[in-house]
Amino acid sequence: MFCIATFIVFGILAAFSASYRPLAAQAWHCAWRRVTLRPCDVSFGEEMRGKIAGKLLRIHPRLAGWFDRWADWLSFAFVALSIWSVVYVANAGLNLWVYDTCDPRSAESCSLSGEACGIEQESLGIITAVRDGRIVEWTVNPFVRFGETLSRIPDRLKRWSPRDFLAPTATFRSPKDDTKPYAVEVIDPGCTFCKKLTANMRDAGAFDAMNVSYLLYSIPTPDGKTKFPHSPFVAATIEAAKRVPLRGSDIPGDWRLLEKIFEDVPGENIDRQTHINIGMTDADIRAEMPKLLRDIGYAPSEIEQIIMLTASDNVAHSLAEQRFIVEEKIRTVKIPTLLIGERRYDRVISADAVRAYLGKP
């Protein structure tokens, strides 16, 4: 086992320095015999052990003796950890390619993933598993997740047609024109990255050049709530606004309301989205939404109608349908998700990237 451990160490060092390559070659020769269940025919492993023990001998003889006695176990642990690390990194790499995040259960914890709000899933820790008697589940979970990742590979390779993922109640930022391409955003009104993507779409001119629509999705949390506490009500209000036309406006009322939430900076350098997310109670948001509807031009009776609709089965059903599209068809693990030009992005893309799709460099 020590040979294998030394091969791992010298293999890595040799990648960066030629001076370690002869040692790496020796270690490989030794390790190869080991992994093919033959005895190591050179004393390389012993020599390396001796070298480490010899250095420890100068510092503390007993430590050298301890190292020598436990070197095989230490090597075993080192090799096991190395293999685990390689598997972990490979799995993370696969996740990054498939999901655009190293860890689909906690997308925001991966620094390599793009800007997005993660959709957190339950993570069963060893302590919880032992406490709740779910050891088997804890053991098989990594394999289940790996299988799930493999099953998502076709999603990564397929061509996405935004039109196939429109909400039944879809509205478009500009009047729909079938000669224009389609784009669909998956957004949570509370997600700051959804706001950013929408702004980039606007800045790139996508609202005029494409039929841009969206799917409302309040990011759920493992405890049955939502990531942004007021998102369900805000989403319901936006969905309800789709049903009440905004008179005298070319832009649908739901889009105006969404833009109001995303773009307003009502004061004290705090934008409206943040204010809703962290500065409001349930009562506050219920008082705030009618004000916003009024600000964008709805009449009091229309506002009352919209507020009534927020609690309707119709809106709830519509939101459920959109949730179904997001969770079962698009199957994203983080949003915003943007379907554009046969491609799919599960993160914010820049205005320039959007322009590239529009042929406007």
Partner: protein, 394 residues
Amino acid sequence: MLFKKSMTASSRGGSFDYLEPGARYFDSACQTMRPREVIDAETEYYRAYNACGGRVKYRWGEKVDAAVEETRSRLLETTGKHERDYVVAFTLNTTYGINLVLHQLAEGSFKKIVTSDIEHNSVMVPSMAWSARRGSPLSILPRGADGSLEYTSSDLENAVVIANSVSNIDGRRLVNAQRLAKDAHEHGGVLLLDAAQGFAHDRETLAHTDFDAAFCSGHKAYGPSLGFVIIRRTLLRSLDPLFLGGGTVADVDASTYTLLDEPHAILEPGLQNWGGIVGMGAALRWLKTQDPSHETRLAQHLWDGLTTLGRITPLNTTASPIVSFHIDGLDAHKLAVLLGEQNIMCRSGHFCCHRYLHHQLKLPPLLRISLGLHNTKDDVDTLITVLRSILSVF
């Protein structure tokens, strides 16, 4: 921590003052340290009279020729031989010299080859090869605990007898060398001595033995890396030369050649290591100034120290400048590495004596401590201290 005191050695003076303080070199059986005088002499050759020997008429060349002849003479003098009977030829090393002579022995001149069980591969393998090539039997005779070759008269009948005069395993000496030479000659044989260790540790035996050829290495005797053969003129003249070329012929006509009338020339084909030969001369001068009892005292001190350590199984039965042992439960290679990390340099393995140590005695790899004239009592004390500490934790 433990070794700090013992590792901070004072630098040694004299001919080895250049050695790194704290370095303890115990592998003189492989090659000795070179005295400063030897290094200086060789360096001087390269800087002051870097010429070919034996073929040029300019001043530098004449100086080289003189130095080479002086080295030949000193080698004969050091081994108590006279140039009337013996010739000195320079070679690459002991192994090369043995092969050079063995394979040039005239076809049919000897009917068998006899050697001993404790031989270095430099003797064992050429003997095996000679036997196979000539279709002549090979006898491998035992050596007694005192180092004597155990033989009967019939063993020596028309035989090439080849054996070391001092073993590189445990320093055993061929104590019956004189008798062996006499018996070999009486039975129509020759005695060839591997004196690779003997030249450094036991020149007395060489001086008192009527050998036919002795093969030595300069690098095991404080000289540069070269070999030399001290060979009886009659044997040299009987050789069937195989390796010829530059430096071996007086003339070459349309289809034949005339060999030089310098006997050593047939063992010295091609250009020689002139700088090395000059350095070897300096090594011989230096050796003459050394106290021969220093090594003996140090060997006894080493033996006394080693025998106080538990778990050590030595091959030696008495003190010797060459001591080999193994330790129950501690691989010798690992021990050598552990010592190496403390800047103590010893050899581990089977020391090119696989047949005897590995296959005959079935021993694990051994650790060998071989002393040289550069070693001090402090070196030995440090070695013993470190060995004791290692044995306490491994």
